[in-house]
């Protein structure tokens, strides 16, 4: 607020973080609007990723690729050894 660069977050970054945070709040409202009345539905809100835009989040954390796999069309045999 006083124009100084105190703290370790540059003003530009902070502004971007605030914009991402505001977008997160809007997103939480939308996601939570689908909650059912049985209280078991997922709840969405502020966490350690709220300062990231979805594109940033995806670029950092969602980097796994899937492979085309054969459909499992046989019954899984339950072994007797090591069975819980």
């Amino acid at each position: 607020a006083n124009g100084s660069h105190s703290g370790h977050v540059p003003p530009q970054r902070s502004e971007k973080g605030s914009a991402a945070f505001r977008e997160s709040l809007r997103r939480h409202r939308y996601l939570n609007s689908f909650s059912s009345s049985d209280n078991s539905s997922a709840v969405y809100g502020i966490n350690q990723f709220s300062h990231l835009f979805p594109e940033e989040f995806k670029a950092i954390y969602l980097r796994s690729k899937s492979s085309e796999l054969p459909l499992c069309n046989k019954e899984v045999k339950m072994p007797t050894a090591h069975m819980p």
């Binding site: 997922a42 709840v43 954390y61 980097r63 899937s66 796999l69 054969p70 459909l71 819980p84």
Partner: protein, 214 residues
């Protein structure tokens, strides 16, 4: 099938880890499966090196991304022994592959199995019971904001982008769900875990499922 089962109750699941800014979820998922399979076999439960898989699995891209099936394929072909995490610790960035002598203690895999279980989640539950925690790929876009509860909306199948480990399931309530260990630290979700509705391939959780044998 039991109505509730969680490998954590058998003390064969290692703690939740944090991949930090590294896109190595695929390695966390696979290594988590190996750690559990090794403990289920009766050996000690210990953290194995995720960094070793990130650095050395040449058919993947380290912290820039990868595939659980490619990692398992590499582990199966090379019979690389995964060393303890304490011997090859996580750096949150891709590094040069460290090699260990043949006599160095470690865990190698004997085989693995990867299938698409979509529309067959009951069979998938059987596989979980029979073989141990399952490495799966999910669409985790909406997981950015997840705090808890059962994920049952906003998750598509066919757009997988994140690897996690299923440790159990719970069918005791109105909405049966998978118990999923993530690698975003314990402050995310429910102590680092998420719950995903069973039976409708939510988040594509049944599309790419791998079990590992040690």
């Amino acid at each position: 099938l039991p109505i509730r089962f969680d490998w954590r109750d058998k003390h064969v699941v290692t703690k939740v880890r944090n991949q930090q800014m590294c896109g190595g979820c695929w390695a966390f998922s696979v290594v988590g499966g190996i750690e559990s399979a090794y403990a289920i076999k009766g050996e000690s439960l210990e953290d194995l090196s995720v960094q070793q898989v990130i650095d050395c699995s040449y058919n993947n891209f380290g912290c820039s991304g990868g595939s659980t099936v490619n990692a398992l394929n590499w582990l199966n072909k090379t019979h690389v022994r995964l060393v303890k995490d304490s011997e090859y610790s996580f750096k949150a960035q891709t590094g040069l592959c460290h090699y260990f002598s043949g006599s160095h203690a470690g865990v190698s895999i004997k085989d693995y199995s990867s299938y698409d279980f979509s529309d067959k989640e009951d069979e998938m539950a059987k596989a979980l019971l029979a073989y141990g925690p399952l490495a799966v790929i999910v669409d985790a876009v909406s997981w950015q904001d997840y705090l808890g509860g059962i994920i049952q909306h906003h998750c598509s199948s066919g757009e997988a982008n994140h690897a996690v480990l299923i440790t159990g399931f719970d069918k005791t309530g109105n909405t049966p769900y998978w118990i999923v260990r993530n690698s975003w630290g314990t402050s995310w979700g429910v102590d680092g875990y998420a719950f995903v509705k069973m039976g409708a391939n939510i988040c594509g959780i049944a599309d790419s499922v791998s079990a590992v044998f040690v």
